[in-house]
Symmetry: C2
Subunit: 285 residues, 2 copies
């Protein structure tokens, strides 16, 4: 399938990401429909003109008319939704998602899916510290990465359509990784960083300390304002990769701690120079 504007797109889950997809795609002229939990989200999206139609809950007719379905749900709700409602889908429909973990979702969904529809997974690496369709904006895709995670079950056509969707949405980089590579990478750059921020924000209860925080503390704890229901599910859905990354970090942190305890100035300086060099290279990208 090549995406053309006569296609019918259904967004399931109209929150921050689902709403931002709707806004971008509606602007291109696609017919965009939406199903979500709360009618108030649908009302807001209709009023803003970012969807053509929508309703709370499930609408078999709306599902059966969709050529492309985008799932923007919590992982466990996504899988339940497929189990219960795939019977309504049009033969040949293409499914994609925005889920932040892949191995625990992609294989399960592909396994239970009807053979005449196809699921190609993707992770738009964009987000904000706020939630809901009311905060959605496709501007957050600018400069961000969009990762397609195909498996052996995917057709090349579906992969290409999914990549094209990433470009249409306005992502700066569209790339492909296996679900396993994706989960290891996200365990490091996103989940580990959130674990660090949460631990830092809660490890010292001295209230007066906060009065003196500078930019570095602020930077390291921005993401400590975390959605506990979403992130606890994401962490547990990627447990093995996340634990590997946490253990790598902890071991390096303790290596630095021991060098400080032992007054090993040469060792500390070597690690700091390595850190500064890596970070400088990174700024050039």
């Amino acid at each position: 399938m090549i995406i053309d504007v006569r296609k019918n797109i259904l967004i399931v889950g109209l929150g921050l990401l689902g709403g931002s997809y709707a806004e971008a795609l509606h602007r291109y002229g696609f017919h965009v429909s939406a199903l979500t939990r709360r009618q108030s989200s649908i009302d807001y999206a209709l009023e803003k003109g970012i969807i053509d139609e929508g309703t709370e809950g499930v609408d078999p007719d709306m599902i059966s008319r969709a050529d492309l379905i985008v799932f923007a749900l919590y992982p466990h709700i996504f899988i339940e939704w497929i189990e219960e409602n795939q019977k309504y889908m049009k033969p040949g429909a293409l499914l994609t998602d925005v889920t932040g973990v892949k191995c625990s979702v992609v294989y399960r969904v592909q396994e239970l899916l009807r053979p005449d529809v196809e699921f190609i997974a993707a992770h738009p690496m964009a987000g904000r510290e706020v939630y809901g369709v009311e905060n959605s904006t496709s501007r957050m895709f600018a400069g961000a990465n969009y990762i397609v995670t195909p498996t052996e079950k995917n057709t090349r056509d579906a992969v290409e359509t999914c990549r094209e969707l990433g470009l249409l949405l306005g992502f700066a980089n569209v790339a492909e990784l296996s679900p396993e590579e994706h989960d290891e990478m996200i365990g490091f750059v996103s989940q580990l960083t959130h674990c660090i921020a949460v631990a830092l924000m809660t490890c010292n209860e001295e209230e007066h300390i906060e009065r003196f925080t500078g930019d570095s503390f602020r930077d390291l704890t921005r993401i400590a304002r975390i959605n506990d229901s979403l992130w606890s599910e994401l962490f547990l859905s990627n447990r093995d990769a996340l634990l590997r990354q946490m253990d790598m970090f902890e071991s390096q942190f303790m290596k630095l701690r021991d060098m400080i305890a032992n007054g090993d100035e040469d060792g500390m300086r070597a690690m700091m120079r390595h850190s500064a060099e890596r970070r400088a290279r990174f700024d050039k990208k």
Copy 2:
């Protein structure tokens, strides 16, 4: 001593901070002189008109004319400088500094100082990821904290003059802490965060991972571009407080790790909610 513009101010160490002090104070009309390691820094400052006079090395006459001397040196150089050159100081001169650690510096300097001059320590909590007088600007003081750390040896007059200096420089908040309180606080909000950034930046050598970094990884590693000679000295000068803070963080991080390993969703969510609440309160300040 009340600061008035007839006073003669000497900056020792004309780098990023010393240069920024010079710029702000010269603008107020003070006579500002400077001593530093390299003549090129003096030439630059004279050309920019942020000092009235200066030279590389030591100038007994310039030292003997100063009413207020600001030390912007590495901790061990600061102490050596005092030992060798305090004999040139004017009786009644007031000394202050910008050093990022206090206990290991303040008591030592006050102990070896002549009885007819006074050292009142301060820490301007401002900085940039760049160095040298060429990058100095007093704009970096706006919105930042300035901490005065008096001891039993200080007079109330000196403390008030030092506070007044912080206000003149344009700091948003001027506060007082004991050297011990200061070092514990800085061990947490500044040194621990730099240790975390360095460990995070060096714990995973997979080059391809950097291609997918998002804002959170960028935020947590901004300060990983670190000056190894300065920070290794600051860490070692505040070893006990820093190790306490590192151990508190590591223990909380491992608590979260074990909750993930054991699938303790309730525990994780409670820690995340606590984190989000603390960070939200913090944003209001």
